[in-house]
Subunit: 204 residues, 2 copies
Amino acid sequence: MTSSDEALNARHNEKAKKRQAAKAKIMADKTQEKGLLIVHTGKGKGKSTAAFGLVARAIGHGMKIGIVQFIKGSWATGEKAVYAAFPGQVEHKVMGEGFTWDTQDRARDIEWARQGWEEVLRMVRDPAYDMVLADELNIVLRYEYLPVEEVVAGLVDRPAMKHVIVTGRNAPDALIEAADLVTEMVQVKHPFRSGVKAQKGIEF
Amino acid sequence: MTSSDEALNARHNEKAKKRQAAKAKIMADKTQEKGLLIVHTGKGKGKSTAAFGLVARAIGHGMKIGIVQFIKGSWATGEKAVYAAFPGQVEHKVMGEGFTWDTQDRARDIEWARQGWEEVLRMVRDPAYDMVLADELNIVLRYEYLPVEEVVAGLVDRPAMKHVIVTGRNAPDALIEAADLVTEMVQVKHPFRSGVKAQKGIEF
């Protein structure tokens, strides 16, 4: 090691010590445990995938998870094989045949949105569920199939340790306002642009 | 249903038909299958969680996955319980004791970075693995513990159907340039700000 390497290392190590001390101080103040209202929004990929990551992690902890899927599509065989390995932990409901993209009947879509929301509300209120995922609920709100105020009030009023995850682009402001954790997934680059189709293990 | 509702529904249904036709046309051109180089970057949460979502989905499809974790932390009991339910599918390596935040020895960190990268490269080249996750590799590149050119070249030169996922904030431009799919996770709201600690099923 040269002397300039040694100097670089020494500076780095000194900085790392300070950073570690600062982090320890911050973390010492974080003592609260509570159920989080989590929102994954934005046009990029990863909103439902990150939600499934949270679900899978919770499965691994022995938690009970309720999922209501508002748009048909990406949740399929990969996810279900994981649930099957942990019987009784995941209840996954798919509303209707999926909204909007594949149906052409707005009145029926609104009815299904209502049914889906009633399922979410049941799971949110039932203390048996540790985590509830309302996948693509934001789309339903965007189309005004459900009143935003009613949905936000229903999600906020829940048992103290219940985690709720809502996904979908265009999360309404009132939901973002009410949430504890909001991540926007921004699309920087997408393979569909270059002719690649949806693939096993990636999109489904 | 009022006549104005009916008119709204009719307009909506007409639009939905057009949208569905447009989507079908786009999807018909997407015929290519290839291993993707995926990057999750940005300061927001969900980078590693979405990667774990992809891993869990791939597990459900019976794929074999290699994971090299460059920073100690969030990958823990939840994830490992999922792997354990699918014996032999996931090989998960943790490099050293984790970089930067908890060590104060740059020379040793660089050695571990090199060891981790050799593991990634082995998994990327070995056709037995369908998917390889280099978790927080971007941090290592950010600190210049490994040459970016060498890493990008190693990830690009891989079997045709191999999926590779790289996570971590501050993804270097050369990696973004080489990637097929890049999502930036943007932090809109974070519960640590309001005194909530890392919790089971959410952060680990």
